[in-house]
């Protein structure tokens, strides 16, 4: 008698519609598209910066278009969604034990949020936004 392992049917392209948590997972996956595209923009920006003042000014002016604004809104939403889910996961990924007890998860994630806020404000200040 042969024993064959159970192979559960799994549609490769539509599996994530089965469960809301799969959809949330996939929505987080999609953020990598916009973050990745934005990273490419950063590399282009570095090239323009190395090419001199005129090239850099043209690069900044080139950002001023309706398409660019839409892309930036999508990239911003993707980056913030990535950041919040990443910080929420830190308490699961690196639990901290002190003596017998674990540090509460909210404290670990909360510390990341505080550091994120401080860092963002400092960078905005250094960049002369306010």
């Amino acid at each position: 008698m042969s024993r064959r392992p159970l192979v559960r049917e799994c549609p490769p392209t539509t599996w994530y519609f089965r469960q809301p948590r799969y959809l949330r997972y996939m929505s987080r996956e999609i953020t990598s598209v916009f973050v990745g595209a934005y990273c490419v923009l950063l590399v282009v920006g570095l090239q323009r910066l190395s090419a001199g003042p005129a090239a850099w000014e043209a690069f900044l002016l080139g950002l001023r278009s309706a398409d660019s604004i839409v892309f930036h809104l999508l990239a911003l939403a993707a980056a913030v969604y990535h950041a919040t889910t990443w910080f929420n996961a830190t308490q699961k990924a690196m639990p901290i034990q002190i003596g017998e007890d674990f540090v509460p998860g909210n404290v670990i994630s909360g510390a990341h949020y505080v550091a994120w806020a401080v860092l963002s404000v400092v960078i905005l200040y250094l960049a002369g936004v306010f």
Binding site: P12, T13, Y16, M26, E29, I30, S32, V33, V35, G36, Y38, C39, V40, L41, L42, V43, G45, L46, Q47, L49, S50, P53, W56, E57, L60, L63, R64, S65, S68, I69, H72, L73, A75, L76, A79, V80, H82, A83, W86, F87, H112, A115, W116, L119, S120, I123, L124, L126, A127, G128, V129
Partner: protein, 113 residues
């Protein structure tokens, strides 16, 4: 002992995930302001050139760009697989090559400044 090359891929991925979470949102805000026509003073050529001309500045910019690129490449690879593109070797090769070339180009541009 079983050997795996996975840590080599995974460590920069995790480091990149953290770098993206901390740095990319605020950097997007800066270029978004430029897109809206309010270019922050810190994005002027003089200030950006001074930042990228400094050794520590170069290191920070390279770290943020290279780690973000690598992390995004690894995540895009997983995303392709999850959306049903099962040619993983091809996808991984293309994405990692793009990330490595992008990192090398960034280093080259930074060294030219």
């Amino acid at each position: 002992m079983a050997k795996s090359h996975k840590p080599v891929v995974w460590f920069p991925f995790a480091a990149g995930g953290t770098v993206i979470a901390f740095f990319i949102p605020v950097i997007v805000v800066l270029t978004f302001l430029a897109a809206l026509g309010h270019i922050p003073a810190g994005l002027s050529y003089e200030r950006m050139h001074a930042l990228a001309g400094n050794g520590l500045g170069k290191l920070i910019i390279f770290g943020v760009v290279a780690l973000s690129l690598w992390s995004s490449a690894h995540r895009l690879r997983c995303t392709c697989y999850d959306f049903g593109v099962r040619a993983d070797t091809l996808v991984a090769t293309v994405l990692y090559v793009v990330a490595i070339v992008g990192s090398l180009l960034s280093a080259m541009y930074l060294l030219q400044i």
